[in-house]
């Protein structure tokens, strides 16, 4: 049974087709790059998997079952938005996660927060946008999930932060779990990918092993991507 399977997914907004017949299988224990230019359907697909959108037609299966409580227990999702209640403190946020997620490792989260020199009693609204995003990444990676879905984790960050984010991901995902990272900044991230999925104009163009693709096309994933989509 696949960890995640998308079967013939279509999504329309009014009359615009955003996703066209998406078929996808995500195995366990892999880091997968969901690569595509902005506005090509990456976020829409991710939101469908996380029950934030409903597909026009088609199905998303997690461990063979429809999206629901069971899938939410094992998927840890990092959206582009800051989704925390900004009137809460870090400590209250940790309690919130402990309350709702059985697999939340609060000790790990506290350790990572300490590494950032953040005081646990700080209010979220008093933190910079960058810090809020880091905190959110910590919360997401502190869950012992089976599937981590990270939407544009590197969007608009400086190189130091980029390293911090990549380290935090590599350090904390558990070995049997899979990680899906969506991004349009391919060169920053391609080194850690097992597999790549190219998505363009709402369709999956390519889904393959990263090193095999490099060998076959003689170039970096970034170059191959640019060649294919001429950007």
């Amino acid at each position: 049974m696949e960890l995640l399977e998308c079967i013939h997914i279509y999504k329309d907004y009014d009359k615009k087709q955003v996703l066209k017949d998406i078929n996808l299988k995500i195995p366990r224990g892999k880091i997968i790059g969901l690569l595509g230019k902005n506005g090509m359907g990456k976020t829409t697909l991710i939101k469908l998997i996380n029950d934030l959108l409903t597909p026009t037609s088609g199905k998303v299966l997690v461990n063979g079952k429809n999206i629901g409580n069971e899938s939410k227990k094992i998927i840890s999702y990092l959206p582009e938005q800051t989704y925390l209640d900004k009137s809460m403190t870090i400590k209250q946020t940790l309690e919130y996660f402990t309350d709702f997620y059985d697999n939340f490792d609060i000790e790990k989260a506290k350790r990572l927060i300490k590494d950032l020199d953040l005081e646990i009693d700080t209010k979220i609204s008093k933190m910079s946008k960058g810090m809020q995003e880091k905190l959110q990444l910590i919360l997401v990676m502190s869950r012992n999930a089976e599937l981590y879905i990270l939407d544009e984790p590197l969007g608009g960050v400086d190189p130091a932060t980029r390293d911090y984010i990549l380290d935090t991901i590599l350090n904390n995902f558990n070995e049997d779990a899979s990680v899906i990272i969506s991004t349009h900044l391919i060169s920053d991230i391609e080194r850690i990918l097992d597999e790549v999925i190219f998505i363009d104009k709402g369709k999956i163009i390519l889904s393959t092993d990263a090193d095999k693709l490099r060998e076959k096309e003689k170039g970096s994933i970034d170059e191959i991507f640019r060649r294919m989509f001429k950007c």
Partner: protein, 265 residues
Amino acid sequence: MLSKCLKYDLKYIYKVLIVFYLIDIGFAIITRILFSFDNSFMLHILALIASGTTISFMFSIIINNLMRVWARFVKNIYSDESYLTHTLPISKSTIYTSKFLASIITMFTSILVIILCVFIAYYSKENLEILKNTLQFFATSMDSTTIKVILTAFLCLFLEFTMILQVGFTGLLLGHRSNNLKMAKSIVYGFLNYLFVGVISVLIIYIIGLFNPNIMALFNTNINNTLTVDIVKIALTLGICLYIILIAIYYYIDIKIFKKGVNVE
């Protein structure tokens, strides 16, 4: 999971509402103190101002309560925060039920606080006597007891506010199914539903009236036809039952709509 959800919903609503409670109680106390000096004209003016403030804060409590409940609903279910709400391992019906219960509980306490403030500000032997007499008047004319009159009034008020809250939720749920002008549409849907509740209530009572001439008397504007106590009583009971049933139906429909999924931007 429901209790955990409820804990956070209540926390959010009370965080601000409590401040309103305290301010209103404060003004009620000030009003009482100022009225107790009855020898100064200036103090009397101040007392009247304090009294006016106390009363306006009572309305503020209700309005803030309604707004806070709806704001929580929108923030939690449709704004950025919803990215967390919808990815928690909680069912949609639990999320909705928690919001519904939180709104009922807060409305209940708000009404209690308002009653408390009235007592703090205006309690005196004479006023109590007036209140008693008024209630007694109603009670006797309704062929009932004062306690029953108080409870009925409280229940009517409470059901009315609950209904307003609920059609608010329905409006938000319907409005956010659309792809644009979500907030404007939510408000329109909310109003339409409230109107619908009013019309349907009257209609149902009228239909029952078709089979029961006693109830039909409610609709008879002929002056000669005086309403008997019994008819008013029946109508009131009918109205209360109808509201409870409508609230239950709305609750069920709201969950149905919510379960169809959301489309968060």
